[in-house]
């Protein structure tokens, strides 16, 4: 029963990792940009939520109304102002610029908020749980987090395959030069993709901040979790990303169950095993 519980907690944690990964995978898919600052942007979103909660006195979940549009606007401006200039045939310039961005965000947050770790308090919901029988209980917050992840992934899937914007994303991903010749303004399309990515980052950041303590330095580790979930799931597959997050989450909780020190190690080992046996990921996009 203890193991069933471990498994359940891992699956729910996986939802959070899937959300770290979804924005990362979206950006790479549309414009071949590897965003090294992704983890730090998650932490930035957490701090924006902190400021919002302190200023308005609202519940962290309600603060999403502010944090999501704010992060989307930052994403659009960042893409149009900086990252579009780095895109080209070479993968290296965007990598270097986002690495620099990561350093700037970490140190900026350190200056503003100090290195003290903080946490958002979501109130009673944090400790509520639903008994599911046999002595097992599901925390309301982890469940909410998982359901949000499923909704985000489902929404992305719908957007990509059912809307004009998704069509533009896929066309631009296929062939940037021709997309331009067919009337798509790539600079704007990329801006919208980054806005969408950071909107998801905002949700992930708020959930992270409610779940555990955070400080300006924890971004890079979140980036690694995101990367691992993307690669386990297979690039270009949204549901694969969710599965990747779940596998990573389950591996971590199982590791922690065996020995509290093996938490992160178990996740990395699961990732390495997948990378060694199926380098294309478990659910790679079918090439049409």
């Amino acid at each position: 029963m203890e193991w069933l519980n471990t498994l359940l907690q891992g699956v729910l944690l996986g939802g959070l990792y899937a959300m770290f990964a979804a924005g990362l995978s979206l950006i790479f898919g549309v414009m071949r940009l590897v965003n090294i600052a992704h983890g730090d942007l998650i932490v930035l979103a957490a701090y924006i939520a902190l400021v919002t909660v302190q200023a308005l006195g609202v519940n962290p979940i309600v603060s999403l109304i502010v944090v999501v549009p704010a992060m989307a606007a930052i994403g659009y401006a960042l893409q149009r102002g900086v990252l579009n200039r780095t895109l080209g045939d070479d993968l290296l310039p965007p990598l270097l610029v986002t690495f620099g961005l990561s350093v700037i965000i970490q140190n900026g947050l350190l200056e503003l908020f100090t290195a003290d770790s903080v946490k958002l308090n979501a109130g009673a919901i944090e400790v509520q749980s639903l008994p599911v029988g046999g002595g097992l209980a599901i925390g309301v917050l982890p469940l909410l987090q998982f359901l949000l992840a499923v909704a985000v992934i489902g929404g992305l899937q719908w957007l990509f395959y059912r809307t004009a914007l998704g069509r533009a994303f896929r066309a631009t991903s296929d062939d940037q030069a021709v997309a331009q010749l067919m009337g798509l303004n790539n600079a704007h399309v990329f801006g919208l993709a980054m806005a969408l990515s950071l909107a998801i980052v905002a949700i992930a950041g708020v959930l992270l901040a409610v779940r555990a303590n955070f400080d300006p330095a924890i971004g890079p580790a979140r980036l690694i979790f995101g990367f691992e979930a993307v690669i386990i799931g297979g690039l270009g597959s949204m549901w694969g990303t969710l599965a990747g997050g779940v596998i990573l989450g389950v591996a971590q909780t199982i590791g922690a169950q065996l020995d509290p020190g093996w938490n992160l190690l178990a996740g990395h080992i699961a990732f390495l095993i997948v990378l060694a046996l199926r380098p294309e990921g478990l659910f790679p996009k079918v090439q049409g």
């Binding site: 896929r170 331009q180 010749l181 067919m182 009337g183 798509l184």
Partner: protein
């Protein structure tokens, strides 16, 4: 509608240090069909890419509808009514046939062309609408490429080697549809290796040789000898 829809004025085009076009000029009236011919590497595709806005030029090198547009990006040219059928078709491989067509219509320029009209022009595409674009035959893919360009309701359609790699019977089918497109008031510039096809279709012919205009004139007045001299430079 102005007499002159398009004017190319002493156009020079460069790829880095390499100069692909030297002082190329041509004019096109509204509703007119022009052909650009020439050997491989003569600069035909570059000329179309310049008109489509894919290359950065001085503003007055291209005048469209009375306005200098040489410095406009490609997506702005589509909005003004210039559409390109690129060489080698270049469909979006992860999109279905219908999605490829919809991308062309995404800007929503008003005009006679929509999905229904494209499917009337090329009925086979209606049957294949939900298939991935790469699963179609070469000729069908070319139809999608033409339909995709038409979906933007252009005033000027640029066709780059639409017969390339296709069987003669398929080429005939596709060329048979061009008059229906022109009948909507669209001007056309076709780039062709197949000179006979080009002369049959176009009223006005421009021959390029190593980036320079080697011959220009009314298709009916050009003799075979003149063309072959301009084409090969012998």
């Amino acid at each position: 509608m102005p007499e002159r829809l398009l004017e190319v004025r002493a156009l020079d085009a460069h790829y880095g240090d390499f100069q692909a076009l030297f002082g190329v000029s041509m004019t096109l009236a509204a509703g007119e069909v022009a052909a650009v011919i020439g050997a491989n590497g003569a600069g035909k595709s570059t000329l179309l890419r310049c008109i489509a806005g894919a290359m950065r030029l001085r503003a007055d090198a291209i005048v469209f509808d009375g306005e200098p547009v040489g410095d406009q990006p490609a997506h702005a040219m589509v909005a003004r009514g210039v559409a390109l059928v690129p060489e080698g078709r270049r469909l979006f491989p992860s999109l279905t046939v219908e999605e490829n067509l919809q991308i062309g219509g995404q800007l929503g320029r008003p005009g006679p062309w929509n999905l229904k009209r494209v499917y009337e022009l090329f009925p086979i595409l209606a049957e294949r609408r939900h298939q991935p674009a790469p699963s179609l035959s070469g000729g069908q893919q070319q139809m999608v490429a033409i339909g995709r360009a038409l979906m933007s309701n252009p005033r000027l359609l640029l066709c780059d080697e639409i017969s390339l790699g296709l069987a003669p019977i398929v080429i005939r089918d596709i060329y048979a549809q061009l008059p229906r497109i022109v009948a909507e008031g669209i001007s056309l510039i076709i780039v062709e290796q197949d000179i006979v096809q080009a002369l049959k279709t176009a009223r006005q012919v421009t021959c390029l040789q190593e980036g320079r205009v080697s011959l220009q004139g009314d298709a009916s007045t050009l003799t075979r000898e003149k063309i072959s001299a301009a084409y090969f430079g012998v």
